[in-house]
Symmetry: C2
Subunit: 247 residues, 2 copies
DNA sequence: CGGTTAGTTGAGTGCATTCAATCCCAGTGG
DNA sequence: CCACTGGGATTGAATGCACTCAACTAACCG
């Protein structure tokens, strides 16, 4: 479990050098995207750049709610673990995404773990809130980000509740492909920086089943598999199995 | 399916008679709760009271995003159906809750169906947005409502992804009990206005399995079951099985 | 070259599903 | 008043999909 490897909570923090948002090139609606240059500098001046090693914990469910993290590179898994040792990953926060935002009774609502090496722009919570409170565009962007994440969680509920395992994997691949393509990617190549076990924890299945699903989709000539990437051979067919896009 | 019974989309709308929020007595953070009396009158003056029959659709995924609904009595299921006919209920909107808020590309993101007879306070979307834009407390309340729903969706993901069926049902009962207790309810009696099939669609299982789970929990002397209610006999034991509350 | 970690594959089990029968109860008409 | 009907709920039997446990392979690093 997490306790086995003592993870330093706060890596060295470097003050942002008043640069325009490095992770912003916008996949998503984004909390700093709508700001003009001057405001963006003000905003980022309240943030610190931090680097995190793979498998480090950025925040932990139950801990007093501290900073908010904007992922600028790498991937953070937002998750929660159950007493029996299993964990469920709720979402992967990609570059540009915010995580550690939700709190319940003054504590982080979920765990945040670096799936790859990660850099974040780290904001003090009250500074972040104050900025949002005094700048309408940011408040609006936060609202949109929340809506976005909520819609995505809704989709995820459908996947976990109503799809067989192969379909889940197919859906996941389509989703990753769509997410990555909007960030300029080579043809059908979908990078999979996360381990099989992480995908399993995201899709509510076992890593062996993830593996079997990959080979199954491979045998159907829909994808070509390697450890840390997948080539989508038949996007239509894959989307059909994965029920993607919705409807 | 839905097409079988032609459901009139817009039941007769009655203009709100400038009354204080009828559904507000606050289970939750609420979009009209934080307003002072005068503002609340202004706010509700922009809403219409509507009545909906059981199994009527308030809004439909894919339809142009129309009004936003505040449930004032009854229960609305927010769901999405898959091509194969199965559906997943994402949440039950109880009195005080907002639904129909999320949109994707100008269309409702999900379906909304009255599980019981329902009354709503219905707001035009842009009127609602304008009000939130010009009243900070409302904007803040919307943000909190979104956070609340998002945290709840996260919990739901854990249930669907990582819990066996009996635990899902136990969790569901604990949750319903907590929700209803905060709205003053008799001892251990948990009302279940929704059908078994609805519970199944919410918990990602079949109605037969829901039924079996009920009898299983009954045999463990944790609950006593009837069609439209459950008596919780052993709250501790039930919570233990259902992993509720989280952690 | 040995050791470690991640991934794949195989065999067997079990839990939830499917399909079908039965039960229960409220509503209705004889 | 009671038999009939229909929808919802429960129960039973059999199937199958995903899980568990275990062996094996591949890649990586010292």
């Amino acid at each position: 479990m997490a306790a086995l490897q003592p993870t330093p909570r706060s890596p060295p923090a470097i003050r942002y050098a008043q640069l325009p948002c490095p992770g912003c090139p916008g996949r998503h609606m984004n909390v700093c995207q709508p700001l003009d240059d001057e405001l963006q500098v003000d905003f980022f001046d309240t943030g610190l750049r931090q680097k995190w090693a793979r498998r480090q914990q950025l925040f932990r469910s139950g801990d007093p709610a501290g900073p908010i993290f904007k992922v600028t590179s790498g991937i953070v898994a937002v998750s929660r673990s159950l007493p029996n040792g299993t964990r469920q990953i709720l979402r992967f926060a990609l570059p540009g995404d915010i995580c550690g935002y939700l709190s319940e009774g003054g504590a982080y609502a979920f765990d945040g773990e670096a799936i790859t090496d990660v850099t974040t722009c780290t904001f003090q919570r009250d500074g972040f809130d104050n900025f949002a409170a005094t700048h309408d565009v940011t408040a609006e962007a936060v609202r949109r980000e929340l809506s976005q994440v909520l819609a995505s969680a809704g989709q995820h509920l459908i996947v976990l509740g109503r799809m067989p395992t192969a379909a889940r994997v197919a859906h996941f691949l389509c989703r990753m492909k769509a997410d990555l393509t909007s960030r300029s990617q080579t043809a059908g190549l979908v990078a999979l920086p996360m381990a099989r076990g992480d995908i399993a924890d995201y899709l509510g299945m076992r890593l062996e089943t993830v593996s079997r699903s990959f080979t199954k989709l491979h045998k159907l000539k829909l994808i070509s598999v390697s450890t840390d990437a997948v080539v989508v051979l038949d996007e239509i067919g894959l989307a059909a199995i994965g029920g993607y896009p919705p409807e």
